[in-house]
């Protein structure tokens, strides 16, 4: 293959990687939510932790993003908020990702 075509390919890959990284950072910024005055990331780890702990107990303590302990008294409400936020953000990221791939 012609070297100029290879360079074009390389440039395209770089542009996609950069746009993807920016879209991902945008998603991560959007994934923060406040609950009972504390900040949480609505990511898979937090959702899994809340889901798991709520199976055995109606209240429990977990850490917020700054490692402060939080007594969660309404795990259902927190889990609902986390899942809603997570999917809202990831759906947007998914749409943006498709656009990046298609337009480049």
């Amino acid at each position: 293959m012609d070297i100029s075509k290879l360079k074009q390919r390389s440039d395209r890959s770089y542009a996609i990687a950069l746009e993807k990284q920016n879209a991902l950072e945008k998603a991560k910024s959007r994934m923060i939510l406040a609950h009972e005055g504390h900040l949480f990331k609505a990511d898979a780890e937090t959702i899994n932790l809340v889901k798991t702990l709520s199976e055995d107990s109606e209240t429990f303590v977990m850490l917020d993003v700054n490692d402060n302990p939080v007594l969660v008294e309404d795990p259902k409400a927190l889990l609902y908020d986390l899942k809603s936020k997570n999917q809202e953000v990831l759906n947007s990221y998914h749409q943006l990702y498709k656009t990046i791939i298609e337009t480049r």
């Binding site: 770089y14 542009a15 990687a17 950069l18 746009e19 990284q21 920016n22 950072e25 945008k26 991560k28 910024s29 959007r30 923060i32 939510l33 406040a34 005055g37 504390h38 900040l39 990331k41 993003v65 700054n66 490692d67 402060n68």
Partner: protein, 250 residues
Amino acid sequence: MIDKGVMAYCINTDRYRYDRIASKTIPLLVKNLGLPVTVVTNEDTLPSLPAIPSVDHIIIENQTGNFINGKQWNNLDRHRAYELSPYDKTLLVDIDFFCYSDNLLTLFDTEHDFLVHDQVHDVTGKDSYNFRCNSAIPMVWATLIFFKKSQLAKSIFDMVAYIKSNYEYYCNLYRIDFTNFRNDYAFAMALQQINGFGNYPVMPTKLATLPANAKVTSVDDNGLTWSIEGMQGNLAHTDVHVIDKGVAYV
């Protein structure tokens, strides 16, 4: 006292027309955060600022004498934000921060007294802001500061004022390579001191930043485009700190 609001400093220099940047960024803050906004300015800059309902102004006699790259840098009054703010909970933003989302509203629902970013994301992918080797302590980014009227927040701002008045000493103590006054380092030092040389809460996201060598090519209500070294990029509905002062004329 008003419950919550946004505050920004906008003071022109001989070199840069910050009022022109404010005419782009203040409407975005009003539109996307829906909070009252207060602009801290001086007598010379005030007539040039955009007249926007719901935006108040506080006029100060700003301190001068600091420079960056040989040019005047009016950044010596940021520590006064605590006393100047008319809000119980304040989001202090740089005037070149383009707010394209409502993400920052989340901060107002927390119990934290003071939050800043300790991480930055260079949207050009060049990783331009790795300053870890330029000081003995990690830098924070004073671009966005969330604070409540509280003893802790007041102590931090008072500490910044103290550090500022003894800046050469603190620069040497913390082995900071940059000798001009920088709020990023002043707040980093103050946070470390006030928090007992330990950790402190930070904003759990990265501050998206477009570095100075990336030139903004267009700005609208939803985002902006930029170019760097022949490469084009765009951001939509993403908050971003724009360093290129040429954005004033885009």
